[in-house]
């Protein structure tokens, strides 16, 4: 029998595709209820107008993650206070895809969008890791020669490995620690330095967006303790 803890654990594996952070940590999960194997999940977002493509991906991923739990029957994901919340909830319940939520308004499923943001997330996390290592005295040449196994065992490294696997980029311990978002190697210290300059810009952008989203969510819903958020 599925427990509420198991549902929350599954939702912790679902990320905002733009910010690359778990929905549970962002405070986007506002409710979970179980009724005889049927699970209802409520999501809440920083604004009424959050981009429907990203909202759909979160709702569909949440639906899939919970539906995959043993003993779970019907799953319903509701999106609170969003202009397209009902359409998105209906589309995820029917598992008919993004096009069903917005008939006539899409050219396909938002898979390219997801991939684009995975690559951005990979660049941003690599920037964070590299900046910490450079600040600790490592040289660009050392970074260019480093393998994934050489990186400090931090969450950013693990997330980079996961993103690389999802993107089809070599994530083995002996693979280069730093790669371009498309997986291409950075052959020299100079190439790495130039890449990191772009990656830092992506990091600044994503981190800023994350702060703004958290701030707007707090403004919109107040700032309950995490356990209250899952009411």
């Amino acid at each position: 029998m599925t427990t509420r803890a198991a549902v929350l654990d599954a939702l912790a594996g679902v990320r905002d595709p733009e910010l690359d952070e778990p929905l549970t940590e962002l405070g986007f999960v506002s409710g979970v209820s179980l009724d005889d194997g049927e699970v209802a999940v409520r999501l809440r977002l920083p604004t009424y107008f959050c981009s429907p493509s990203f909202v759909y991906l979160m709702a569909a991923d949440a639906h899939a993650a919970v539906a995959a739990l043993p003993g779970v029957g019907a799953v319903r994901v509701e999106v609170d206070d969003h202009f397209a919340g009902t359409a998105i909830g209906d589309a995820t319940a029917s598992e008919e895809g993004f096009g069903a939520a917005f008939p006539g308004e899409s050219a396909g499923e938002p898979d390219a969008l997801r991939e684009r943001f995975r690559r951005k997330a990979l660049a941003a996390r690599q920037a964070r890791i590299a900046e910490r290592m450079l600040a600790a005295g490592r040289t660009p040449a050392q970074l260019a020669a480093a393998t994934l196994a050489d990186l400090p065992p931090e969450p950013d490294r693990e997330r980079c490995r996961a993103l690389r696997s999802e993107l089809g980029v070599d994530a083995a311990p002996a693979a280069p620690a730093f790669v371009r978002p498309d997986g291409a190697p950075l052959a020299s210290a100079e190439e790495l330095t130039r890449f990191l300059r772009v990656a830092r810009l992506v990091r600044v952008s994503l981190e800023g967006n994350g702060e703004l989203c958290r701030g707007l969510l707090r403004t919109r819903y107040g700032e309950p303790a995490p356990e209250e958020a899952i009411a």
Binding site: S51, L201, V204, R218, T219
Partner: protein, 344 residues
């Protein structure tokens, strides 16, 4: 004009509104949702003493506008950027006509920009001609996420939009303000993506493209295209108030902009009434890049003067008093991007 420590700054507010979002003007729940979203930005990013009631925020007076911009806000000239939103608000959110009515009562204070929407086809082109002649337009504000019937957005890099850009150029409209929003056609794409601006900036080198909110939430995409396109500028509306809530983030955004596109293509803006220019100007003049952020260039008085007013004055041929013109000529810059292309 703002004066501090013997330095004087000419101030152009590049993005202001005089909107009507009162419940009586809201056409539906989307109109309510839109102003509530603005209000959350206002509450989230303002110092506590600056926060208005929702009622006042929905509909402030012309007296508030003049007081906040010109009496206490140090603004010399403000640029009205219309946002029609006629699917959300019965009389529109703020239209060119409404803005022009205010501007007429206060000569010399406002620049009135117009707007167009490529989905309006031939009729829209004719309307643009009339609008440009009636208000002597030098700029337009485009909102690519505007809902129109069944459509929830449009892109700049289409043949339909190209006709409007060509018509704008023909009519003497030089400055194209582009504001991205959360929806676009098709909806499965990234609505905030500014790559369509890249295309049209190349195709229309004599037009200036001012990307509002410096592309936020896509600062990286904006810097990337602006580095390559000399006629792309960045407006700081929405980025400015981070100077209060997240000063280190503000320093990073500004530092990245200075690094990538340089000091000559960044424009100050309050996005009034979401934020008032008074505290933004005061804090900006006091602001310095934190000493530990050695990767970013220094924020000199000259850079601040350009951002606060001189860059926008150049785009709109605003007459700047001679003694406030310091730094008006583009200087050698170490930014990655090329010099701005300032049409004569």
């Amino acid at each position: 004009m703002y004066e501090k420590d013997g330095e004087r700054y000419f101030v152009v507010d590049g993005h202001v509104h005089f909107w009507d979002a009162s419940p009586e003007n809201q056409a539906n729940e989307f109109g309510a949702g839109f102003i509530n979203c603005f209000y959350d930005y206002h509450r989230n990013l303002s110092p506590p003493e600056e926060v208005w009631s929702l009622e006042r925020f929905q509909r402030y007076s012309e007296q508030d506008l003049m007081h906040d911009l010109f009496e206490v806000g140090y603004v010399d000239v403000a640029i009205f950027l219309p946002t029609y939103l006629t699917d959300f608000y019965r009389r529109g959110f703020n239209t060119t006509e409404q803005n022009a009515a205010v501007a007429d009562r206060h000569p010399g204070r406002f620049i009135v920009d117009g707007s167009w929407d490529p989905r309006d086809g031939d009729a829209g082109l004719a309307a643009l001609e009339e609008l440009a002649e009636r208000f002597q337009l030098r700029g337009v504000k485009l909102y690519t996420a505007e809902w129109r019937g069944d459509s929830r957005g449009w892109r700049l890099d289409t043949p339909e939009a190209a006709r409007y850009l060509a018509k704008s150029q023909e009519l003497g409209i030089r400055n194209i303000h582009v504001h991205k929003g959360p929806t676009i056609w098709p909806l499965d794409r990234d609505a905030f993506d500014v790559s369509d601006v890249d295309h049209v900036a190349t195709d229309f080198p004599d037009l200036n493209f001012i990307v509002e909110h410096v592309g936020l939430p896509r600062l990286e995409d904006f810097c990337w295209i602006a580095t390559q396109e000399p006629n792309v500028y960045g407006g700081l509306a929405v980025a400015m108030p981070f100077i209060h809530t997240r000063p280190r983030y503000f320093a990073q955004v500004l530092g990245e902009l200075l690094y990538w596109i340089g000091e000559d293509r960044i424009l100050f803006a309050s996005d009034y009434a979401i934020w008032r220019p008074q505290w933004l100007v005061e804090r900006f003049v006091d602001f310095e890049i934190p000493a530990d952020m050695t990767e970013y260039p220094e924020l000199t008085t000259t850079v601040k003067r350009k951002i606060l007013g001189l860059n926008a004055a150049g785009l709109y041929d605003i007459d700047v008093p001679h003694d406030l013109r310091v730094g008006l000529a583009p200087e050698e810059t170490t930014a990655i991007g090329s010099e701005p292309a300032r049409p004569a």
